[in-house]
Symmetry: C2
């Protein structure tokens, strides 16, 4: 039984906690956070609550919560910590993890140097066997996770030469009421955007050019993608190939009511999934088109949940288990790919 | 003196009317529209008001407006009609123009077959001399106008081989309060979008792939563009080249307050321009980047005003005059390119 601790109980932390509890080979030992709050109370009742520092413990205790200890205590009872802190805080926690000699998974908001390797399940050449010596992994960001899965899948059957993508990012998550933009599209002036080097961490052999804008939406990221492959292809073969991966959903043409991210969010709430998660890349089948050796398509990326399966796999990876076995186990546990079945 | 009539007095019609009045070689003979309204009253006072049909004349007269006649009457006193009707209505007016043997300019919302030629000033190989036999021109849409100017400009110095662009379209104009989307990005499933064939009407020799989404904004369209040229280039040369065209503004890095379409709209209102028009392509200089023989950039396109200079040039073109002379005259009249001077 793999003993898992989670530090940070925000958007990603609570979804990873939920998914860990669904795995038969994992035991969630507790969640460490900084503040007393409604979610701290839920953590206390469901998993066991820790403070990151002693001062956080004191605050939480003063407000009547029962607290098991601090982050060091959580490390002591865990084989792997999944750090789901806000961007940059993972790096601040790193000395504690090193000191406690615990394996750790960081999120994509951290700099690439924070961990021994950057991680996406579909992009791992080494199958994880003999990965016991790897101490830490950084699960790449939601956008890069979506790009990695897609490009790696196509690359498995066709030789991908170049990826050109525009990422139309959601401005903030629902509830992040102070973020923008409103009624504006804000381009990220740096071209290529940071997603290019991130994707190259996963797939070094492909030429990548990404451009990013922020949009006044909250539901999902939208990717407008063109992929150049070595030889001519046809669209139905591409759709069939993508659909063969559990972590990529091709939205069938017949579902005319699923034309946008908002439609996808509504559909996902009809599934038996906590938080209405969409763990899969969602590719509009009608948009998949081919001209010579260029493949174009639109895909939606649910920023809040897409990295969850990769975090679960990364736990097994750091414990030296086979990634391909883990993918099968995670996908089966989460009933991945069920959205359009 | 070229006698110009305008049919349709919406977003484009009123901006073209304003620009026609600024030209020394043109006389605005009147504006034809269908309904009595606040803008009909303005047309009556400023230019002379016509009804499209007799019934429209009667309606406007009943509401106390003074009306000069119907569309046929306007054709009778005009050398060129600029049809600025809503999409599809231009085609409905076509029999009247043919019957009255008047030259006519249609807008990009009409099908390509409506006119003898599709038109963009920068894309015309034939300089307009001996164009007297051409009866009608269709000024391509705002998005295609912006793409045509950009690609043609780069193609003048570098051999453009391929254009790949994602058009993040504004959902509606300010005031179009019933349009969407709200809080959603809606992809146009057809790839390539219609802008590809439209751009190829202007520049047939270039391979084009466009993808389009609708966004919950009203201010401007945003283009995320990649252009493949024959040989390696460098970014400063590209910026210098683009900046040498009056109809393309390269936003200087030093203007840090101009990072989005909303910023551009505010800046344009500080100019001496009716409607705060932005007739130019607006390219963010900081976004212009080069990798080998790929050029990437973001440009903003003001959907309400960018086609105005092309409509003015097209009037002279249909009258058999030189396009290069017209471009100079229009640019000077409108003080084009002044945004960042």
């Amino acid at each position: 039984m793999k003993r898992v601790g989670i530090s940070g109980f925000g958007t990603v932390g609570r979804r990873v906690a939920d998914a860990v509890e669904m795995q038969e080979d994992m035991k969630l030992k507790g969640v460490a956070k900084t503040t007393q709050s409604a979610t701290a109370s839920k953590a206390q009742h469901n998993f066991g609550l820790y403070g990151i520092k002693d001062s956080h413990m004191q605050d939480m205790k003063s407000s009547g919560l029962s607290v098991e200890g601090n982050l060091r205590d959580l490390c002591r009872v865990s084989d792997v910590i999944v750090d789901c802190s806000p961007s940059g805080i993972g790096a601040q926690n790193k000395p504690t993890y090193q000191d406690m000699d615990v394996k750790v998974i960081y999120q994509g908001g951290e700099d690439v140097e924070v961990a021994d390797i950057s991680y996406n399940s579909y992009s791992l050449e080494n199958d994880g066997i003999n990965a016991e010596n790897i101490k830490s992994a950084r699960v790449v960001s939601c956008n890069t996770t979506g790009l990695s899965r897609l490009v790696k899948s196509i690359n498995s059957s066709y030789n991908v030469e170049r990826v050109s993508a525009t990422l139309i990012r959601r401005g903030g998550d629902p509830g992040e009421i102070s973020r923008g933009p409103i009624n504006d599209i804000v381009p990220t002036m740096e071209i290529p955007s940071h997603h290019s080097s991130d994707l190259n961490e996963m797939i070094p052999e492909v030429e990548v050019s990404t451009r990013a804008v922020k949009s006044p939406t909250t539901s999902m990221h939208m990717h407008s993608i063109e992929i150049e492959v070595e030889n001519e292809v046809n669209a139905s073969n591409i759709k069939e190939l993508l659909d063969s991966y559990n972590r990529i959903c091709v939205i069938p043409s017949k579902y005319e009511e699923v034309r946008s991210p908002a439609d996808l969010r509504e559909l996902s709430r009809m599934e038996d999934r906590t938080f209405g998660s969409i763990w899969e890349n969602t590719v509009w089948g009608d948009s998949v088109s081919v001209s010579g050796n260029y493949i174009s398509l639109f895909q939606g990326i649910h920023q809040r949940s897409i990295v969850v399966p990769e975090n679960i796999d990364a736990i097994r990876y750091l414990m030296g288990e086979s990634i391909s076995d883990s993918i099968m186990e995670t996908d089966s546990c989460l009933n991945m790919g069920s959205l359009f079945r």
